[in-house]
């Protein structure tokens, strides 16, 4: 029970931090409004999907270094397929790219299971392979995206019955993010498969002995990671309108947000909400740094310090919160 509270407490704390930062942002820039919030969400989008991709495998006790490369590959694939094609063609491109992510992710999992090479090495290798493939698809940034796709993350979603001034705070990008994550995560979390993913992350041996098909579960976890990464790739193409073969800074960011979000890197613990809130926090910190016009060289120092401080603080309260006499 206390553990349950503690876990949710972490997410709640993060959320409080986000609200605090938001108030701070308002103080720095009184004009910060719904439009700016929309910008924030659009900036969050690729990071959020990268983090979701990382979260699934981390919970399953692994790590996926190929997330950013996978995003690059899916992004260039989408962009080059849509280049010069009709608007309707994009209707086919989107599912195709998602399926591609799923399959390539599953391939990651299969390689890990079959070769028995540590996941960190396998995904490091696939990082290079996917990057290479991205370069073969597009040698330089380019391609295009269907207009309706680009439009689908711009502006707000008019919700009938909601007053306009509240509606303005519901950007389409946020709706898209929530829908995409929930559609996969909520059923997963409730299913036995979801439990199995947590189980293999917590203790592979115990999971195996409990009858969990460990190999299959691991492959599925990586496939889901690939799917989320493909969503991230699409989000990149949607926001920039192009595909870029060089991966952005999403790998380290995803790992950082996963840890900030309360997911143990050993596996088996945490959820998706924490990391997503963590992404919002990190992006908002960046906004504030820009708004404050802080010396750019100092921003790196600040970002690093914040990351370390938050995790240190988390560790600190966990040590304090540990009930006395929990040993041996």
């Amino acid at each position: 029970m206390t553990r349950f509270l503690r876990n949710q407490g972490w997410v709640a704390g993060l959320f409080a931090l986000f609200v605090l930062l938001f108030v701070l942002t308002k103080l720095i820039q009184p004009g910060y409004g719904s439009g700016d919030f929309g910008s924030l969400v659009r900036a969050v989008l690729p990071y959020a999907f990268a983090v979701a991709a990382q979260t699934v495998v981390v919970i399953a006790g692994g790590i996926d270094l190929s997330v950013a490369a996978m995003m690059a590959l899916t992004s260039v694939t989408a962009a080059s397929m849509m280049n010069g094609a009709s608007e309707e063609y994009a209707l086919f491109v989107v599912p195709f790219v998602l399926a591609m992510g799923l399959v390539l992710g599953a391939l990651n999992g299969i390689l890990i299971v079959v070769t028995r090479v540590p996941d960190i090495v396998v995904t490091l290798a696939t990082l290079f392979v996917l990057q290479g493939a991205a370069l073969l698809v597009l040698g330089a940034p380019g391609g295009a995206a269907a207009d309706w796709l680009k439009a689908s993350i711009v502006g707000t979603l008019p919700i009938p019955g909601l007053p306009d001034n509240i509606d303005a705070w519901v950007p389409k990008a946020l709706v898209l993010l929530v829908v995409c994550l929930c559609i996969i995560w909520i059923p997963l979390r409730r299913s036995k498969l979801g439990l199995s993913i947590y189980a293999i992350g917590s203790s592979e041996l115990a999971a195996f002995r409990s009858g969990v098909p460990v190999a299959r579960t691991r492959i599925i976890a990586y496939a889901l990671s690939g799917l989320f990464a493909a969503m991230g790739g699409l989000a990149l193409t949607m926001s920039t309108g192009i595909g870029a073969p060089i991966p952005g800074p999403y790998l380290l960011a995803s790992v950082a947000a996963v840890v900030l979000g309360g997911v143990a890197l050993g596996g088996g613990k945490g959820g998706l909400l924490g990391p997503i809130v963590a992404v919002f926090v990190l992006r908002l910190v960046r906004t504030d740094l820009t708004l404050l016009a802080i010396d750019p060289n100092v921003t790196a120092i600040i970002e690093g310090a914040i990351m370390v401080a938050v995790v240190m603080f988390g560790a600190f309260i966990t040590i304090r919160g540990r009930p006395a006499g929990a040993m041996p």
Partner: protein
């Protein structure tokens, strides 16, 4: 109890070879290395000459030392992503301070950030229990920021590579790179530390089962703090060696070595989860990666294809190595 270990049936030659290699995991790694070199020689006849060997060794040494940092931290279940930044910092500070300072003073100044970052890493990981990945990532961000601020203050004074480092980094004696004079004792020291000192034993024990180590009287924070300081010092020394080799101080000098250093340690058989591995394998791992880079450079292929090949070979090498070493 009684000796029942003897297997009655005669063991086939294949199994004997396998057993032999499993007992000496270095042998298959070396064989893999030789295979790569042979492939190189076939693709470009004549390339494997004295000069090439010297160059390969020269470039493998900095990688191998950084991979030593990873090996030691990985034994405790950690990782040190700040080595790139630390190496860059000491290199840059050395190159800029040598202009106006006594070499000894410049050296001390150059090693200062290494000690500091190592200490912060160690305290963060050992006392506050921040995950090493986040901790070292954070300090490396902070370090990069500091370096940029520092860079601005010294930009007018220019930079110079001390002759000694030049000699150490690029010089040859009887065809052997001078860097070996630094590396061989260092490698022996690391191997000795891991195998034959109390500290080395504690690294394994802490990484394997921290609670068991604690019950045996080991103070975790002491071990971890010492470890990260040592790791940072090694990284600092690598930076000095590397600047002697590259001769161009830049703000991202050693960053590209970070991921390969992790890869070298893992290819060399060190477990990322702690408790298992050693340094000799890592050295071969670093050589393998260096030869592989050369191999791919001289292949006339599109960059994309080259990266794909690199990834596949890394995966294959590790998988083959595991197959050979793994008994059962």
């Amino acid at each position: 109890m009684t000796s029942s270990a003897t297997m009655p049936q005669p063991v086939s030659f294949g199994r004997r070879v396998k057993r032999f290699m499993a007992d000496r995991p270095l042998v298959p790694l070396i064989i893999l290395l030789v295979i790569l070199v042979v492939i190189l020689q076939i693709l470009r006849p004549g390339i494997v000459n004295e000069r090439w060997l010297a160059n390969t060794v020269k470039f493998a040494i900095p990688l191998a030392i950084l991979a030593g940092c990873q090996t030691m931290t990985m034994l405790t279940g950690g990782i040190d992503l700040s080595v790139g930044t630390v190496a860059t910092m000491s290199a840059f500070i050395m190159a800029t301070q040598i202009v106006n300072q006594d070499p000894a003073v410049a050296f001390l100044l150059a090693m200062m950030p290494a000690v500091l970052i190592g200490l912060i890493n160690g305290i963060g990981v050992g006392v506050f229990r921040v995950h090493p990945l986040i901790m070292t990532l954070g300090t490396s961000l902070i370090g990069t920021g500091c370096l940029q601020v520092y860079q601005r203050t010294v930009i007018a004074s220019g930079a110079k590579i001390p002759d000694f480092l030049n000699w150490l980094g690029t010089g040859l004696t009887y065809g052997f790179p001078n860097a070996l004079l630094l590396f061989v004792p260092l490698a022996v020291l690391i191997v000795f530390t891991l195998r034959r000192t109390g500290f080395g034993r504690l690294l394994y024990a802490v990484g394997d089962n921290e609670r068991a180590a604690r019950l045996s009287g080991v103070r975790y924070w002491q071990v971890i703090t010492a470890l990260y300081v040592i790791s940072s010092l090694l990284a600092g020394i690598t930076g000095l060696l590397y600047i002697g080799l590259i001769k161009a101080p830049s703000l991202s000098l050693a960053e590209p070595l970070v991921l390969p250093s992790v890869a070298a340690a893992v290819i060399g058989g060190t477990s990322i989860f702690g408790g298992r591995g050693g340094y000799t394998g890592t050295i071969i791992g670093a050589l393998i990666l260096t030869v592989l880079t050369t191999l791919l450079t001289i292949l006339q292929m599109p960059e994309g294809a080259r990266r794909i090949l690199f990834g596949l070979i890394v995966l294959f090498v590790t998988a083959a190595y595991l197959r050979i070493v793994e008994e059962r």
